[in-house]
């Protein structure tokens, strides 16, 4: 009977989503187990998780770590481009990752929250010793010996401005009447070792300070939209855009020596891996790094190739290689289309991963939000409170929610799903409540008056009549989730956000687009598919 089928359809739909969630969820739980290394295997056989923060040099150093570990016979899992300092560090502290490249100054100010002493400014070794000891004591994590170069903040201006205003040092800038427009990263604007401290130390005055994403600040200064930016000393893009770095003549910035930061567990379980990583200590130079970073950020070389070349140049060539044999030749950059076509298999894999995240999060949101709405529908005040609470979740910025989740759930798929689930609850719960409220009161009253039980009235009348509105909420949530799921990449959750994050970090728009375009297409497809489902569950009298 067709009418019976229509009546029960919304329930079937729920059941189908629930089954999907149940069959897919164990797989993700398993992934997490391996990722966290909870499987009881010999230490040497355990996969070592190497992570990085989302910018070029961090990708490069992490890849060098990974290659060194692989040569030492370790299995390595790469988790590049984790959020920012908070995300990467809490992942390391909680053992969700094993090692990532970090900078002593960041460790001192952003992680430990300590201030820079005169002794530290005078001698980087003092800073390193303090940070290494305090980090071990407070968090149980280990700084391996520094890699040999510093990558501190570099305040850079366009060459013409440096020339016009005769700027060489930050003191020159403080003394100059020029009112420059700054484009600083929000990280730099907020940190004590960033703009607030720098302004106080030099008495600097600027015309305006605009927050800019790391990926766009060079583009912005290159086009003249801003005059002055914060960069890193070894950024390859400093050279590309012909920028002049203003010397920190008062030594405001703490020493930013780069080093590998290793988890307590890696230190305890695998001294061989630590030894392999330590081989790189003291072997890298600022000039060298600038060159390698430029190869990645400006020339668009692949990170693994540059890492191999950099290792060889540092005297750590793999067996059968020489520094010369891996030197980088000319590498013309493909246009977007050939690049996109060449990546299609990877894009499909990421799209599948993306949809898996979306499906699990959405299914779980449905099986929670719909019954929740049913439970509170007859208590309007309670309903309002619950919707407000879900609204609060909605206002938490995606990255903040993800960062907040790391201490509880680690990194990877699980916290990403939980965050997406949290965002999907509101539209579904709200639409379910709205749908239940619009159901024809005459019909409801008649069914009650004729002796339907609560359950019968719910299943036969309320839900089927509410179905199209509920579905429209699910549709909104689905499209939202497809978009938000790109953030999962910041905590190693995979999906189409991966090329977006990496592309932003490497200033490679082709990479960004190869994630963003399929994500947009997915959102459109999901919307169109659910529009069909919505038509199907719409009761016959409304069609």
């Amino acid at each position: 009977m067709t009418n019976r089928r229509t009546g029960l359809f919304s329930l079937r739909l729920l059941a189908a989503f629930a089954v999907t969630a149940l069959t897919v969820a164990p797989a993700s739980a398993q992934t997490r187990e391996t990722a966290q290394g909870l499987t009881p295997t010999a230490p040497a056989a355990r996969t070592i998780i190497v992570a990085s923060k989302p910018f070029g040099e961090s990708y490069l150093l992490a890849e060098m770590f990974a290659q060194l570990l692989e040569r030492a016979g370790r299995r390595v899992e790469r988790k590049p481009g984790l959020g920012a300092t908070e995300v990467a560090f809490s992942a390391l502290r909680t053992g969700a990752i094993d090692v990532y490249p970090e900078y002593v100054g960041t460790g001192l100010v952003a992680i430990l929250g300590d201030s820079v002493t005169a002794a530290m400014r005078a001698d980087p070794r003092v800073a390193y010793a303090h940070v290494a000891t305090a980090s071990r004591r407070r968090f149980g994590v280990h700084w391996l010996p520094p890699l040999g170069f510093q990558n501190g903040y570099a305040i850079a201006v366009r060459r013409e401005i440096a020339t016009t205003h005769r700027l060489r040092t930050l003191s020159d800038l403080a003394a100059s009447p020029a009112r420059l427009v700054a484009g600083f990263t929000s990280d730099f604007i907020g940190r004590n070792d960033g703009w607030p401290g720098l302004r106080a130390a030099y008495g600097l005055r600027l015309g305006d300070v605009r927050p800019l994403a790391p990926a766009v600040k060079y583009e912005a200064i290159g086009r003249g939209a801003v005059d002055i930016i914060d960069g890193y000393a070894t950024d390859g893009l400093l050279a590309k855009y012909d920028l002049v770095t203003l010397e920190d003549d008062r030594h405001f910035f703490p020493p930013y020596e780069a080093a590998a930061l290793a988890s307590a567990r890696l230190m305890r379980d695998d001294p061989g891996a630590i030894a392999a990583l330590t081989a790189l200590s003291g072997r890298l130079t600022e000039a060298g790094m600038r060159e390698w970073n430029r190869a990645i950020e400006v020339d668009g070389r692949a990170v693994p190739d540059v890492a191999r070349a950099a290792l060889a140049a540092a005297g750590l060539a793999a067996d059968g290689e020489t520094a010369r044999s891996v030197s980088l030749g000319a590498a013309p950059r493909d246009g977007f289309w050939p690049f996109f076509v060449a990546r299609r298999a990877e894009t499909l894999r990421l799209a599948a991963e993306h949809m898996r995240l979306v499906l699990i999060a959405l299914s779980l949101a449905i099986v929670v939000a719909v019954p929740l709405a049913l439970a509170i529908i007859s208590r309007p005040r309670m309903a309002e409170l619950v919707l407000q609470a879900l609204g609060v979740v909605q206002t938490i910025p995606g990255l903040a929610l993800l960062a907040f989740m790391i201490p509880l759930l680690g990194i990877g798929t699980l916290p990403a799903i939980v965050a997406l689930w949290g965002y999907a609850l509101l539209p579904i719960a709200r639409s379910t409540i709205a749908g239940l409220r619009i159901a024809d009161p005459d019909a409801l009253a008649a069914v009650d008056a004729m002796g339907a039980t609560r359950r019968q009235s719910l299943l036969w009348v309320r839900l089927p009549l509410a179905a199209p509105v509920v579905l429209s909420g699910i549709r909104t949530a689905a499209v939202l989730t497809v978009g938000t799921a790109t953030l999962a990449a910041f905590i190693g959750g995979g999906g189409l956000g991966e090329p977006i994050v990496t592309g932003l970090g490497l200033a490679d728009m082709r990479l960004v687009l190869s994630g963003a375009i399929p994500a947009a297409v997915l959102a459109i497809l999901v919307d169109a598919l659910l529009a069909q489902v919505e038509r199907f569950v719409t009761p016959v009298h409304l069609r």
């Binding site: 009418n3 009546g7 019909a443 069914v447 008056a449 004729m450 002796g451 039980t453 089927p464």
Partner: protein
């Protein structure tokens, strides 16, 4: 033998508003009591006390001698047919399925047969109308279906809540005739809420004129006409007669 309905000293309050104030009424077995009055007179509240959709603050409501408060609500309601003003048919169900509601709630295997029989009785042949949806029927046909639904499970009590009020004159006339035929064929006790004295006069044995939560007078039409108990009843009757004369005038 259909049941007797009794309300004794029933008071109903909605917050601080008293909708029914110490009201008593009895419908004998097989009788039809019409509750007539303006909006807010309490007629619908009284009707709904019989199937417990309204809970009195005081007083006793008996269906077939049993206190409705001690009866199982679901069982009670399945025995009592209910016909709201707009039919209250489920818009997403076919007419056949709507009419089979109570037999289906009772889990009866012959629900479809019962529904078809009830539709036939109400002048909607199941073969022609059963597969249609409510929005594909006229207002009169929908009310017929609603009455069929209220009778499909051999209910012997009918609560008619302005069931004929929203129809055009011709459909309404036809439906009243059909209802009278049904009453002759089937034995049921009924309560009709209406604001139209003419309709009450046509269908009911006894008419209770209600005003401000009280019954002004409860009697057959002839008594209301010949011996109105209050000026309000007299005025009501007078107005209805005047209206009828206007229409009857040559």
């Amino acid at each position: 033998m259909p049941p007797v309905l009794t309300a004794t000293g029933v008071t109903v309050r909605y917050g601080s508003v008293t909708a029914l104030d110490d009201v008593s009424a009895t419908v004998p077995a097989g009788g039809l009591l019409a509750l007539v009055g303006e909006s807010g007179s309490g007629k619908t509240s009284l009707l709904r006390c019989f199937n417990r959709m309204v809970q009195p603050a005081a007083g006793l409501v008996l269906v077939d001698g049993a206190d409705v408060r001690t009866s199982d609500t679901v069982t009670l309601r399945r025995r009592i047919g209910y016909v709201p003003q707009n039919g209250g048919l489920l818009p997403h169900w076919t007419i056949a399925r709507n009419v089979a509601l109570v037999p289906r709630l009772n889990g009866r295997a012959d629900a479809d047969l019962l529904a078809a029989a009830a539709l036939e009785r109400c002048g909607l042949p199941a073969g022609r109308f059963g597969a249609r949806y409510p929005h594909e029927l006229s207002g009169g046909q929908r009310q017929r279906a609603a009455i069929a639904r209220a009778l499909a499970a051999s209910q012997d009590v009918l609560l008619l809540d302005e069931s004929f009020s929203a129809l055009d004159a011709i459909s309404r006339h036809e439906l009243l005739e059909a209802f009278l035929t049904l009453r002759r064929e089937l034995a049921f006790t009924a309560v009709l809420v209406t604001h139209d004295l003419g309709e009450a006069a046509r269908l009911a044995d006894t008419i209770a004129v209600m005003r401000a939560g009280r019954i002004e007078q409860c009697a057959p039409l002839a008594t209301l006409r010949d011996a109105p108990a209050t000026p309000y009843v007299a005025a009501l009757l007078h107005r209805a007669q005047a209206a009828a004369q206007v229409l009857a005038a040559p």
